[in-house]
Symmetry: C2
Subunit: 190 residues, 2 copies
């Protein structure tokens, strides 16, 4: 998606070690207009998959997932990383390594809001190692739901996430794909 | 706001001790259409305050704040509760007691995205004790910004948040106000 690509070129910061800082428009400050455009684009891409629910992970997946859900007319569930007191004792929980935290984090969904028979579209900000998204896939499968699509704003193809997820046979779409971040230069897939 | 009030009456769950569970449409599963309506309503209410930025706290403030920012054509910043590696060493940080966690949590904003001279509209899901919102006010003031409005989806007037915040002289608007949750019954302000 051209608008997102241009924004990354303008405001994305390569911090080294493959870390792309997009805190100015996605991860801390959010460009709500851009997220709306991204949500609209996901809704177009995934119009035909018959999704009944959008699933994401807190925190940075929430903005694009809410906008996607809005444009698809669906509810969105965000997996929690801490179990709040409002959640029942029996939950779906999986562990996923966090890129930015350097440790395993929990991903927790209440069975109240993810049921067997649901057709789930996973939306997240990054497809990097694919570990978070694989965790969301496991949560969906534990609930007996079918994962019918995976959409991410930014794919870093050099981190192998697509290779991890492709065997699942689920359609994967990224709005922008970065193939290399070497020597301080961000290279996009054409 | 009638739609939100009706949704609380239908799907809100009183867990006791003044805790209103709205996980089915705000705090875990999000009704994106309803959040869009709420954002539109905040944009209408706060149309004249000259805000330049929306500020909220992760996690549950994000959805209503993003929708509000979208309808106002503004960026939104969400205060982080953990400092990610992408954030600079020098930040604005304050502590606020968490209602649902039973301990103090950090609220952190990068100076990159909150500057002196900004006119900040604070949006959050609940106005209960007012502690989180007071923390956001302190962050804004530390940055030299002016807080020009406070909007929350649900006010629990019996928890005193408005009394805490009123001396600040900032316009406060809640879309729904609950005056009592005694004996399992939720009473709304007319």
């Amino acid at each position: 998606m051209q608008a997102l690509k241009e924004r990354i070129m303008r405001d994305g910061i390569h911090l080294g070690s493959g870390i792309l800082k997009v805190d100015g428009f996605i991860n801390h400050q959010v460009d709500a207009q851009l997220m709306d455009q991204c949500g609209r684009e996901f809704a177009r891409i995934f119009a035909g998959i018959g999704a009944t629910k959008v699933l994401t992970a807190e925190i940075s997946g929430i903005a694009p997932a809410v906008m996607t859900a809005f444009h698809m007319g669906l509810p969105v569930v965000y997996a929690r990383k801490n179990k709040p007191i409002t959640m029942p004792d029996q939950v779906y929980l999986t562990l996923a390594p966090s890129h930015t935290k350097g440790r395993m984090v929990e991903l927790i969904v209440s069975p109240e809001y993810l049921a067997g028979g649901e057709r789930v579209l996973i939306i997240d900000d990054f497809l990097a190692s694919g570990a978070t998204i694989a965790g969301l896939v496991r949560l969906g499968q534990a609930a007996g739901a079918k994962i019918v699509g995976i959409g991410t704003l930014i794919e870093k193809s050099f981190e192998g996430g697509r290779d991890l997820l492709t065997p699942l046979g689920i359609p994967i779409h990224s709005l922008v794909c970065i193939t290399s971040m070497q020597n301080g230069e961000i290279t996009f897939k054409e």
